[in-house]
Subunit: 353 residues, 2 copies
């Protein structure tokens, strides 16, 4: 790893080392231009940047700075944009990502898009403008112009929380669809036939879409009609999970198992079931997804899918290190997500309520 | 709000408007120096900055840019550094902060210091180097050099999550000590005399220190010896809360009420009590602090202190807007924190276990 001192350290160089002014003179540009090259190369024309770089190399300017770091305008700051900082859905992954970055002296700056594509686009621009060397993004769903912007600005990025081999982008994650199918199989194995799904808005959320599809896959594989699946779409929150469960308990026929798009919704559903005097899992089974900490502290503990939070964060860091160094990061990485059986899932009740 | 176009827009100015070179000539400095004033005023001496600013004002340079924005090198990016992104302790406050910023077109970048003063210092430097216009920080505890750095770089900041009128810094928060005293009063009112505290490391955490002190205040006010208080210091996590509770249940005499420094520790303590076959609150009362969402979803729900998460976030944004505009933000803001009584607190058991 090339250590990149900041500009103030440059001024501590001995008098025999070339200065900004010397580089400017050799490159035939103003010192302001050299300075711009150091701070914001994207606003400098390619021709000018090349002139400055050539001068830097020729004169051995700021040997600690490294011509490559200059060209790459390395700031040792990485960015991550997650859909939410609430409910710790992405917190453990981010923590592992940050720990890996810190070992390389890299600072992590995080933005939270509130699941808004417009806000995420602004944040991508802002992080790049602020000099982020590389970005971690969640899921593939975003306008193509975001990808072309990153391509144009040559900012390496990794997509996490998803794995689907053929998207043509470097990703690290798990197969959301397959994982939800496995969980739905466990539900169906216990005799449940009237199922419901509480999911996030699936439009701009490939993870939610794939999880929903995995449930449909499991039903179809057993000859069940996916049209019988009751679905509520709502934003991830405990309160929304509670409200959705109440709504579902008033549908006829009443579901015997409610599968939730994540643990946050499931925790809300569980709380609401208790408020309504329903026994979980006696009257109703509830499942989550993610295996964040609340999955274990609610009563009964949630059956859920354990997502490889820490390995995604750590692995994303490794991929970005390689990309930033100009190396081939290799293919996208698929990690395992595993079904965790806990007490919120039980056999289907004998009698219809 | 003055809209601040970026520098590239300056180049679209008509030919009759003064240019960087003209300002440099008038100020008697190089264009590099003017440029530095625009990008990184803190590395320019006060005298030079004044010369450049005078020239800018006299010539009406970049009328859309605004001399004040120039002095403040506005990027429309604010930073926040929180001790942790896990467990949603700061998530709701950050969310409200971000919403207020977004209304002004400001992007929020967040860093998480893992309760490490060294890491926080790096992050302060990184956010300032990346051009953050203003910073939100949690609590007062940090090396003086962090404050002098921010002062020197003229980056406005607000301290949140604490209120203590006389620190000489603009803060918005609540009185952690008073809030914990109120909660401890509620515990003592129910006859508990053998108390325990599970707290975060109090060395670099003024909130934890003040909460601990509030409990001591309540004991002292009733003539109880604070030396009888059993204390476990541990990092905030559910697992650590569980472990600390187990440890406390093996002390003699066994506490009848365990007060936790936050809801995360309390959720862990509650889970562990259940594992040990203890009835909460029949055998043991447990309290939290913060009133984050898990406080309501655990069984029994946690008695805790409701912290004004959203109002702190929103209010911090208002203070920073004022400071960035060069206005007097007024005195520090004290918000209310209120005791929320839920089922995890009950009367002290009649018989000693």
């Amino acid at each position: 790893m090339v250590k990149v001192p900041n500009r103030r350290q440059d001024s501590r160089q001995g008098s025999d080392t070339p200065k900004l002014e010397d580089v400017a003179a050799r490159a035939g540009v103003s010192t302001a231009t050299v300075s711009r090259c150091l701070n914001n190369p994207a606003v400098v024309s390619d021709a000018t940047r090349k002139k400055v770089l050539d001068a830097v190399r020729a004169m051995g300017y700021a040997p600690n700075f490294g011509a490559q770091a200059l060209a790459a305008r390395r700031t040792n700051t990485f960015g991550a944009i997650v859909p939410t900082m609430e409910n710790a859905i992405f917190a453990r992954g981010l923590q592992a990502f940050q720990e890996a970055l810190r070992q390389q002296g890299i600072t992590l700056l995080v933005a939270s898009s509130s699941y808004s594509p417009e806000l995420e686009e602004q944040q991508i621009h802002s992080l790049v403008a602020r000099g982020a060397d590389a970005l971690l993004l969640i899921g593939h769903d975003r306008p193509p112009k975001c990808y072309s912007f990153l391509q144009k600005r040559q900012v390496p990025y990794v997509i996490a929380w998803v794995y689907d081999g053929d998207e043509g982008r470097v990703s690290i994650g798990f197969d959301n669809r397959k994982a939800m199918k496995s969980l739905a199989d466990a539900v169906l194995d216990r005799g449940h036939r009237r199922l419901a799904l509480i999911t996030a808005d699936r439009r701009n959320n490939d993870r939610a879409r794939q999880r929903s599809q995995g449930l449909v896959d499991a039903m179809t594989a057993r000859g069940l009609d996916p049209e019988t699946l009751a679905v509520v779409e709502t934003a991830y929150s405990i309160a929304n999970g509670a409200q959705a469960l109440e709504q579902l308990m008033h549908t006829t026929p009443r579901p015997t198992a409610v599968m939730c798009g994540n643990d946050v919704l499931a925790a809300g559903a569980l709380t609401q079931a208790r408020k309504m005097g329903l026994d979980v899992p006696g009257d109703l089974s509830i499942t989550g997804f993610d295996d964040i900490e609340i999955a274990e502290i609610v009563t009964p503990a949630l059956t859920t899918v354990h997502v490889p939070h820490r390995n995604m964060g750590k692995g994303a860091a490794s991929l970005l290190f390689a990309m930033r160094a100009g190396e081939d990061p290799g293919p996208s990485v698929e990690l395992e997500a595993t079904v965790i059986l806990r007490d919120s899932l039980g056999p289907a009740p004998d009698r219809a309520p």
